[in-house]
Symmetry: C2
Subunit: 128 residues, 2 copies
């Protein structure tokens, strides 16, 4: 697996690394809201599993604590996430968009941004 599948909790852990840079387990744990924060060893277990999946690695030590750094980019992980999500809809975009809009998750600004991005992309293709 070049791009391992990451669960929600795994994503949140990676997010800590992406947002705050290489961190110790304690630091990762503390990025969770106090309310409902997982136990230290829970985070530890997930970090170890992410290590096996090669999503992160031990960088160095500070005191006796390991510092971990991400091996997967946020972008790559999100790409994977989007792909799986579309797979759930049989790859058909239409219902996805409709759902996003009707749920009010998509504003006209989002759509405008999307349009601009699309234009830029097609321009880039034509004039490299």
């Amino acid at each position: 697996m070049r791009l391992p599948k990451l669960s929600k909790l795994e994503l949140q852990i990676m997010d800590a690394l992406w947002s705050f840079g290489p961190s110790a387990i304690r630091e990762i744990q503390e990025t969770f809201p106090q309310k409902g924060r997982p136990a230290y060893t829970t985070v530890q277990t997930m970090v170890y599993r992410l290590e096996i999946k090669k999503a992160l690695r031990r960088m160095h030590k500070i005191g006796n604590a390991h510092i971990f750094e991400p091996l997967i980019s946020r972008d790559a992980a999100q790409r994977r996430l989007v792909d799986d999500f579309l797979g759930m809809f049989g790859g058909r975009m239409q219902p996805v968009m409709a759902q996003l809009i009707e749920a009010g998750n998509l504003t006209s600004k989002d759509v405008a941004d999307a349009e601009k991005l699309l234009r830029d992309l097609s321009k880039r293709k034509k004039e490299p």
Copy 2:
């Protein structure tokens, strides 16, 4: 759980019911592409689990085969799916859209449709 979480395979099974109406297990199984089609009993197991989750129910019998009908609408299930998905992105739409577009999953027609839908929705709100 009013809206149980459905996995990919569960979704595919529900999809058979949504698309073709109340069906027997054999019929559901046969909606899967021959290549990689799950065993009859695999589908059966998932259908039973969906029954426990109250996502579908036995309607009547034909011969000795049960006919199942959906209890959850495609729309409701998709809403749930989209919500979970957005949760993975911390609810921020922007990276989602960017990802969709850059992956080429989103065409200009999709965006145009989205625009129209947005317009219609806001009109409906103003002039009921």
